[in-house]
Symmetry: C2
Amino acid sequence: MAEEAVRNKKVVLKKYVTEGYAEQSDLETITSSINLKIPEGTKDAVLLKNLILSCDPYMRRCMTPRDPSHYLPSFELGKALNGLGVVKVVESTHPNYKKGDLAWGYTEWEEYTLLVSPPLLIKIDHSDSSLPLSYYSGILGIPGLTAYAGFYEVCSPKEGEYVYVSAAAGAIGQLVGQFAKLMGCYVVGSAGTKEKVDLLKNKFGFDEAFNYKEEHDLNDALKRYFPKGIDIYFENVGGKMLDAVILNMNLNGRIAVCGMVSQYNLGKNEGIYNLIDIVYKRILIKGFHVFDYLPQYGKFLDVALPYIKQGKLTYVEDIFEGLEHGPEALIGLFAGENVGKRSLVVARE
Amino acid sequence: MAEEAVRNKKVVLKKYVTEGYAEQSDLETITSSINLKIPEGTKDAVLLKNLILSCDPYMRRCMTPRDPSHYLPSFELGKALNGLGVVKVVESTHPNYKKGDLAWGYTEWEEYTLLVSPPLLIKIDHSDSSLPLSYYSGILGIPGLTAYAGFYEVCSPKEGEYVYVSAAAGAIGQLVGQFAKLMGCYVVGSAGTKEKVDLLKNKFGFDEAFNYKEEHDLNDALKRYFPKGIDIYFENVGGKMLDAVILNMNLNGRIAVCGMVSQYNLGKNEGIYNLIDIVYKRILIKGFHVFDYLPQYGKFLDVALPYIKQGKLTYVEDIFEGLEHGPEALIGLFAGENVGKRSLVVARE
């Protein structure tokens, strides 16, 4: 079988980073090899060529040692990171997949990955090749479904409501804002650079946007942008921002908690002091996970694809090329350097 | 009309108490007078004889100056406190009420109260006089409906789930625990004295109970009482307890936030540090207010009355007699001195 062995570059975790910002040197790109053949007798296996890897904020938490409380597996030291991506099936003994299929789902940060009973692998109907394949790591994949489920299912939005989105220029936030506008809501987003703020206002059609780093007092900023209060908050950041938002929520407000990226680098979380307002204002706070909404993926595509084709839903990507740039792409994401959805192209089809 | 004037004792607020424990001297009992006659031409009015006044934890917040963020009106200095109570209609120009009717709803802390367009006044069918009238300030009034709505509607309980109730020997907690047992849940309650803990286990049938004041580490205590985690938390106290509970919640756990009594005496709220777990564990936190569930009051009675008559639902009251003991009754409640539902009898029928 040696003649089938090919090079297999991987991005691996060198050491766990419990606290503080992760650095590129915490990751490393190594070169290994893989037999491009599923071992004989292995059932339900797929050998995947990884095309595009998704860089996601939650991966920061996978760089910390295993903590049973956060229900997220940690990366294994010295092994390829795992994450979401777009793949092509090279060989399959799994009845649902065949050679040549395109799919998205869980894979690993390497050139080729052998998976037995893949935990999540959804075939892509790419007959309409006018859309970039990278969209399946973003707007048409997990970030898209997350925005859809979090906004429509968790927040139960109504026309005319006031919606606030943090990390609004990211993979998910940009879509939440656009969904909210399509619904007839008033939408304000925040982000951490002028470039992102401009994008929110000029590209994604947010009514207003601001740079949270330039605000000394987030409570004041929110009062300025929401003189009539906030009905819906799509929470991506946590910490001080959440605390200020709670003060500005309206009666019967809803907070969909998608993530709390501001806390992922901290050894100890920031305190939240204003929770008592959820009693007075009958606020709903709901942590949600997109996997609970996977059965709605088809319905989501039925909504999103026409919007995209009609130009009513746009998507900004921030693409890196080459597995060797994986550490840079991922670590930069954690520092908020991305403008739009960050993905890493490993190979073209 | 002077011949109709009678004595009208009142409990009034002398000064606002922003921070720290309120004291009896912050309140005072004064004697005034009232004409026992609705002024001529006044429509939709009721003149009420106050029979039983409810002492409720939320009233602590009404002793602070008006804060628009908490959606609760403050008491007016020098005027009778307002609150819930059981009343008898002395005279009425309101089409829904007639002389002699018994009712419960909003009234004031005095002997007689004249209300025009009463905001909440629900007639009592007291044909079954085997139940004490005071029950309508407790198990058959707002505390009962609060327990019912918070547990069944907000928490969506299922048989076999693990339920934790704080302030469990209070007006609401004792009922939540009993509802949970009737549903087939495993229930643990906490309270602040040995007497209350004994009551929870021996009178209300909680599976376990503990004195939170004797626990150095609430997280450890909860891990001991809930080795399999908590599915439902009925939140009455907030602060450090909430923080410890979040750490021990299970996947898809639900927290119904009824109140946060531990915070009402503080000038600055305690910080909550573990909210990030609501993402990992997809937790729902919902502040609710019983007034949103008033339309279900009839349905609630249909459930509660048979349970009471069959002895499946019991209720412990902590009754003070005499309006002049109002300050003592109310201030003691804020300090957790009550064992069961604290009410103040102003007059017998």
